[in-house]
Each structure stands twice: as C-alpha cells, then as structure tokens.
Symmetry: C2
Subunit: 331 residues, 2 copies
C-alpha cells in the first residue's frame, strides 16, 4: 500500500482535534497545550496474544486497543486528551482493513472526547497496535494513584464483574453456546460485547476522583489480581465480601453451562475494565451519587474494606475465606 | 520470563526521573507536570524491517529506536522530556537481551536528559519497539513546525550527510569492506556508528529554534525526500547547491568502492538524523554561532534557499539540475 496515500485517507477520517491540540498528525510531532498535570499510559496488543481476528472484527480490535489504554486514564481520574497510535501491519491486512481498525478507534475517540493526534505505520509479520494515551488534570494532586488506600476506607467497584469472562466463554467454548446456557441471544450479545468492546469508565473515574477516592485501579487482570496490585502499592490489605460483588447478568447461566463457579469468573476472569477504588466511608453516598450522575446505569457498589496488613482476603457467602488463587475451594 | 520480576529489574536500571515527572513507571499511568506546550511523537521499529540483529547489537537497537524518536523532538526545537516504551518480545529473546535493549535506551536517555517514564511488555513473534517521546517548550509558538518556510529564507543543515548511507554500505556490501575502500578502520567504525547509533541533534535543534528557524525537519528519509516534505508543508520550493552539501568524511571512498555517486548517498540515503531548517539570512550568523555553542563539533551549513514555487531543485556542481529521484543523471 502507498503509505503516504493511506496516511491521507486516515487523516480524513480522524475526528476533529480537541482544544488542547494545536497541531495534530502530519508534522515531526504533535503540539499540545496541556493542563496543569498529565497522566500518560501506553498499552500494546498483539494478534494471537491479545486478540484473534476470527473472534473479533477489525473495528472491535481497534476499539478494544484504545479502550484498554483509556481505561488506565479512567483509573487515574484523568480527563481523556490525546492518543498516539502505532500500527504494525502484516501483508494480509489491506488498506480497507487498516481503515476498519481506525474506524473502531475513531468512534471511541469521538465518544470519549479523545483526539487521535499522531501515529506511525510499519510493516510487521503480525498485526499489533501500540497506543499511548495522555490525560489531563488541573494539578497532579487531583490524579488518583494506586497507593493512597488507608485502613478503614471502603472498597468500591463500578458496574458489574464477570461479564467479560462470560463473553469469552461464549466465544471460545462450545459448551457455553447460547442454546446450552439459556441466557438468550440479546444477553449473550451483551456478554460478548463486554469481552470485545469494553467501555472505559472515564466518567465514573473522574467522579470518583472528585468524590475523594484515595486509590484506584482498573480491573484488567481480575478483581483478585488488581486488588493485590492496589493492596501492595498502598501497603494495606483488602477484605472483600464475595456476596457483595455485583455479578453480570447472565454470568451464572454461562458459568453453569461450562461447570465453573460464577465467582471464579467474576474474581479471576479479568478484562471487565471496571474500576476498583478505596474511599472514606463518609464519602460513599456522595461518590455513589456522583457516579450515577456522571455515568448513567453504571453504578457503584461497596464490596469490602481496606484493612491493615497485606493481600486480598475474600470472604465467601458461607463464611470461608478464599485464598489468592484458591478457586478450587469454590467447587 | 516472569513479567513482574523483569519489570522490577528494568525499573532498577532506569535513570533518575526528571523534574517534570511526579510519578514514573508502576501505576496505571505516569504523572507529569508539563511546560506550557508539549511536542509528542511516536516511532516504531520492527526486526527485519528497520534493523537486523546480525548487524546491530541489542544495545544499538535500543539506542537507535530511542534516538530516531528523539530526533523528531530535535526537529521541533523541543526540550526532551519523557519516553514511553513498548517492547514486543519474541521467544528467542531472553531476559538479558531485554535488559540490553533497555541499556541502550537508558544510556541515551541519561545523555539527553530524557526520563523513561513508562512502558508495556508483550509477547510477539518478532522483536519490535514502539516509543512515544514527549518534549516541552514554554509556549507552542516556540516549537518549530515544517510549515513556516518563506521565500528568501536560507536553507541550512546540521552536521554532515551521507555517513549513515556509507555505514550501511560497509555493513551490507562486501565491495565496501574497509580493505577495498581504504577509509581506515577508525573512520569505518565512525560511519557504521552513524548508521547504528545516530545522535539526535537536540541541542542544535533548540539553538535553531531560539535563533529563529522558520521551519525544521529531521533528515530520516534523505535530504531529497525530507526536503520535499518541508517544501510541501510550507507551500514553497527548495533550491539546493549540491556543492555546498557537507559530505561525511569517508563517504567518497566508500561510494567509489561500490560504484555509486557520493551525492546520491548523501541526498537519497537517509538515516543521518541531521536537521534541515529554513531561517532568515540575517539570522544565519547568529544561528551558526548558537549551534556551535549548543552542540560542539556538529556545525551548521547553508546549502541553498527557499524560493516561491514547489519541490526540491538540486543544482549540481556542473550547473545541471537534479530532478527528484534523478540520481542516474549523476553517473
């Protein structure tokens, strides 16, 4: 393909640049006028490692690559700003395919107010996308790290968990086919979309930051894994009530069809891209209201508390404790 | 390899963070306190497309990947700030190899005052590096784009051209072996280093920006190709005197050994990562002095002028004009 021509076609499809971008794609560098502080994160996805073209459309691949990058900005409570995209393009991906990838990114960029401000194209033997996202805040103190959780804080989570894991089962496991689970095709589509088209919780993240969240992380590796990251960074322990975890609709049916425990999928499955945060209990009602206003229908649920100590302790409905990785206890 | 352990080893080797970085690698995003304007650029290199591991050490691969990204900041006249690095790691690259890549980047980061502020590691079937660099300036007006050249401006270039192309000949072409060219092993090493370990002209770029450069670009595709980019972006023509182009020492001997014209290698070869800039003639002496002070031994040479019109016209020593791509005229 002619790189120059392709770049021209790509630039024609880019959404309008945001107010912080003085000069977008096409020069040696993009020029921005940032706020008082920036949050910057970079994420890469590789075909065969992070996605499969026989499961996800190229539009979905582009969407998810940008979504997972933006999810890191959500977890900082940052306002999304700019994205810079590297595409590694294999020989079997034609110009139309490249534009489909871009369409997936451009639609999400438009929906979230993100400017696609620059990028680089290269030949590669396999398809990969590396995306750098820059978010903004008026000052560095307004951004929420993983390290500020204090004993006594409440532990909260946005949305529902386990939906992405259930969606993956529907995509990969014949036993989880709709006709076996009885979840219905609309709900099954919604679960697959949780896996293939995650929505970064940018509005909820900013609402939680403003409401006083002391620490925050996005749930990409699973509640257990990312909870452990937050606990380690803050030097505290997490105590989670399993019965309080908001489970995705349809998760129980899919889990039953593949003979797994729904809690295992909700805690260990990952890729839900919901936010896990700690916040003083006195702020909890205000935070819930702020999330409701900023992100319609997402919801905020208290699932436990921050304690002195370390690690993640999950109390099962029957009172037993789930050790890290100890999902066989669930059976 | 254990990603967590590798990340810990990587973080131990990172140079100290600069004053603009409040929080580096390890959270959902890095936190920065930028200046009044940022210049952001992203570059990717892929094994087999941009480098070969049998020609370049992993330290050199890491160095060059960061150097070519920083060269875009040099071309904006920006102060280097932060770099964010994605590594795609194939199965045959072990942990030590990964750390060698990082050492190449870390040494250049230290030398240029760049903070390696974040990154992502992923498995991949071939080695690739995608690097986003962020530079700073007090205001967007102080950054130099490609589009400000005006008829009557002088055209200047930093350093010498053709060295990287001669180095590539020495690496790839048996006819160019030292014993055939008679350039001597020290000079041959220097030419190979121009290809494998380019130095971004960050100091010269800032000096040119302060001295009033009206447009600037780094020479990665060759003087002819990048000159055409600058001409197109500015809506002007470039007139270059071939006799004025500063040729790298040893270029003539290498070119003779492989039966090529040294001007062809200097104009078409690319990868010199020198800067091409336009500037009002009245500022020329001050610019030359500023570059001499900022970048010892690099030098600034006037090679032509900006004219009304379009395209790049190169006047050969005998008065003939070299058309774009018309290197066969040289023979």
């Amino acid at each position: 393909m002619g790189e120059f021509e392709l770049l021209t076609r790509i630039r024609e499809r880019l959404p309008q640049a945001g107010p912080r971008v003085r000069l977008g794609s096409g020069d040696d560098a993009a020029i921005g006028v940032p706020g008082g502080a920036t949050a910057t994160s970079v994420d890469a996805v590789v075909e065969g490692v992070h996605f499969r073209r026989d499961q996800a459309s190229l539009v979905q691949v582009g969407h998810k690559a940008l979504a997972t990058a933006l999810s890191d900005l959500a977890a900082m409570g940052a306002e999304p700003g700019e994205a810079y995209v590297v595409l590694g393009l294999p020989a079997d991906l034609d110009e139309e395919g490249c534009l489909e990838l871009l369409d997936g990114m451009a639609a999400l960029a438009t929906a979230t107010g993100t400017t696609l401000a620059g990028g680089d194209l290269t030949r590669a033997s396999e398809l990969f996308l590396a995306i750098t996202v820059v978010g903004h805040a008026d000052s560095p103190e307004l951004l929420v790290t993983r390290s500020g959780a204090r004993p006594g804080d409440a532990l909260v989570v946005t949305g529902e968990l386990g939906g992405a894991a259930a969606g993956l089962q529907l995509l990969e496991n014949d036993e989880a086919r709709v006709d076996h689970t009885g979840v219905g095709s609309t709900l099954a589509s919604r679960l697959r979309a949780r896996q293939l088209e995650p929505r970064p919780r940018l509005g909820a993240g900013r609402a939680l930051a403003r409401a006083g969240a002391t620490a925050m992380i996005d749930i990409s590796d699973g509640l257990g894994g990312d909870g452990a990251h937050l606990a380690r960074a803050s030097g505290v322990g997490l105590r989670i009530e399993a019965a309080a975890i908001p489970l995705a609709a349809g998760l129980e049916e899919v889990a039953a069809a593949v003979d797994r425990d729904p809690l295992e999928l909700a805690i260990g499955g990952g890729e839900d891209y919901e936010l896990l945060a700690s916040i003083a209990p006195a702020q909890l009602d205000a935070a819930r209201q702020a999330v409701d206003e900023a992100a319609k229908g997402v919801g905020l649920t208290a699932i436990g508390e921050i304690v002195a100590g370390e690690g993640v302790e999950i109390r099962l409905p029957d009172g037993r404790l789930l050790e890290p990785g100890g999902f066989d206890q669930l059976a």
